[in-house]
């Protein structure tokens, strides 16, 4: 009884978490070649990155464009620690999220009091500053040519070079990340964050402090971006600024919006979308922005509520229609009697 009650306060979110976990476990079974596994690994990294973005762009209902920059900061923090300071990868995987969390809190404190469009511009600016730094601090980052020689991830001398091991590790972190995000979403903290997105005055009147809540969302998004960035560095073993540019910043936001911002299922659908686009657009690299733009335009027209939102709305519609039909049926029977 109790568990049923708790589920209903968290309305419909549990199955989305289970589906996320299920997909992360099952997808590689569909196709487990080495090449496919590297792609699944990339997807799992995107799941972590988008789960982080979902704290701000989904739960808090603000549009942050800084996530690509934070992703890059995490990658460079881990990469630089490992390459320039010989920090063991395990430790680098801890350092990177902390660095990015600190940066995200700083950006959050400076930007979150701004109104919508200014907030977007501030976060875009923050992401762009990071992008510039990746390119300019040549001594540390290797500049536009990128940072080379990043070691593979390893624990006590055991290197994660086998594709299946790499995937398992990243997927495990993605699953933990999803569970933590789900915990937050269904708690009073998550409720308050979403409440702020829906009605600021009513959330204030209920006694929820927006500053604390949004700072938490920023910190979380930074932490996840840090983890994702570090994993990216150890996975690709080479990073360059172009991976974390404006295009990426927009893509992340678009992928999340299209797949369902604020929902548990959003990050994995968004990650599948991003990976799919990357794989199929690779053959037409020069036209990538064009392809993205067209997909974006069409999708926003077709699914203004996001993919998950659209599906949920259809379900709701069907239920409503069924209810109306049942009501009409009863009415007819009453009239006949």
């Amino acid at each position: 009884m109790m568990s049923r009650l708790t589920r209903s306060l968290s309305r419909n979110n549990s199955w989305e978490l289970w589906l996320t976990i299920g997909l992360l476990l099952l997808l590689p079974m569909l196709l487990a070649t080495d090449y496919a596994l590297t792609i699944w690994t990339r997807m799992a990294i995107y799941v972590i990155l988008l789960t982080g973005l979902n704290f701000i762009n989904g739960m808090a209902g603000m549009i942050s464009l800084a996530q690509a920059g934070f992703f890059g900061l995490g990658a460079y923090a881990a990469g630089i620690a490992a390459v320039r300071f010989d920090v063991p990868p395990v430790l680098a995987l801890v350092i990177a999220p902390l660095v990015v969390t600190a940066a995200a809190l700083l950006v959050g404190m400076m930007s979150m009091r701004l109104k919508e469009i200014y907030f977007k511009m501030a976060t875009l600016g923050a992401g762009f500053v990071l992008f510039l730094l990746f390119g300019r601090m040549v001594e540390l980052t290797g500049g536009p040519n990128g940072l080379v020689g990043i070691p593979p991830f390893s624990v006590f001398g055991f290197a994660f070079t086998e594709p299946i091991v790499k995937y398992a590790f990243v997927a495990l972190l993605a699953i933990i990340g999803a569970i933590v995000a789900h915990n937050l979403l269904v708690s009073r903290t998550g409720r308050a964050l979403r409440a702020y997105g829906a009605s600021e005055p009513a959330a204030l009147a209920a006694g929820a402090s927006p500053f604390k809540l949004r700072l938490l969302a920023f910190g979380m998004s930074g932490f996840y971006a840090g983890v994702a960035g570090a994993l990216e560095a150890f996975d690709a073993r080479f990073i360059s600024p172009s991976t974390f540019d404006f295009m990426m910043a927009v893509l992340l936001v678009v992928a999340l919006v299209l797949s369902g911002a604020g929902r548990m299922i959003g990050p994995i659908l968004g990650a599948l979308l991003l990976t799919g686009i990357e794989v199929f657009a690779a053959d037409y690299a020069d036209y990538e922005p064009l392809i993205m733009g067209v997909i974006f335009l069409i999708a926003v027209q077709l699914f203004p509520r996001g993919l998950a939102g659209e599906l949920a709305a259809r379900r709701e519609d069907r239920r409503e229609r069924a209810k109306r039909e049942a009501a009409a049926q009863t009415e007819r029977e009453v009239v006949r009697a």
Partner: protein, 266 residues
């Protein structure tokens, strides 16, 4: 709270000026616990500004607001809940995208303990808190015949029910004082009776209700005390019957010349 005397709401000498416009001038009033105090007045009398000062959305230039004798910090809306002052809004303010149950549970936000970081782990304490919040919310929904709507998205409700959800959400905070900003606005006349019962129920449970309302019928039928605002000042106050007959009130509403012949029956 039981040992402490429930004094309800007290507003003393509140003034507010926007540039050259004096919106509130030395407003003093009380909304004692267990009673309905109405604030009426023609458009532009300053009713909404008063509601916003009391609930901390507008910072007054002068004057104080007290709940049970404790002064509320000026202009701090977020601090009101911990002083058990709740409010509803003139334009429906519900949490869209969330279920009715979640809306009501959000009302109890300030009564729930625990740190945000602990919510990430969802340990036994968080689970227990959430269970309690859910039980309380369901109990309230039952009391207002909304239980069958618990899982519905709040935006799928008819307007009248959504308004009721807003009120139930405020009750979830276990308020000492409630400010209702035009609760009848936009409601069909048929909904006026249930609304009146809901408001009367609040007062019966010991809440100090400050009712800011245009609908004179509603005000006159349920209020214990009526305060008339005009041009930012308290014009007069008294029982509904007294206020209704006061020539100054009729003049303020209808303009000069009507005062002798008519009674206010708007």
């Amino acid at each position: 709270m039981s040992t402490k005397e429930r004094q309800g709401l007290r507003v003393t000498g509140v003034s507010k000026r926007y540039g050259g416009l004096q919106v509130l001038k030395d407003v003093t009033l009380r909304a004692p616990a267990g009673a309905i105090t109405a604030v009426i007045g023609p458009n532009g009398a300053g009713k909404s500004t008063l509601a916003n000062v009391i609930s901390g959305f507008v910072t007054q230039d002068e004057g104080q607001v007290f709940v049970n004798g404790a002064e509320l910090p000026a202009g701090k809306a977020v601090a009101r809940a911990s002083h058990r002052l709740g409010r509803t809004f003139q334009n429906l303010e519900v949490f869209t995208g969330m279920s009715v149950l979640q809306n009501v549970a959000m009302g109890a936000y300030s009564r729930q303990k625990g740190s945000h970081l602990a919510d990430l782990i969802r340990g036994p304490r968080t689970r227990r808190n959430e269970r309690e919040a859910e039980e309380k919310a369901r109990e309230l929904l039952r009391r207002f015949d909304l239980e069958h709507r618990a899982e519905s998205l709040v935006e799928s409700l008819p307007f009248g029910e959504a308004k009721l959800v807003e009120m139930v959400r405020v009750l979830a905070m276990e308020p000492e004082v409630v400010v209702l900003d035009e609760p009848a606005a936009g409601l069909p006349p048929a909904s006026a009776m249930p609304l009146a019962e809901t408001i009367a129920g609040m007062a019966k449970n010991g809440i100090g209700v400050l009712l800011i309302e245009h609908n004179m019928k509603l005000v006159m039928s349920i209020s214990d005390h009526v305060v008339v605002l005009d041009q930012g000042q308290v014009l007069t106050e008294g029982s509904p019957a007294e206020v209704q007959k006061d020539p100054r009130v009729i003049e303020a509403y209808l303009g000069p010349g009507h005062a002798k012949s008519e009674e206010l029956t708007l």
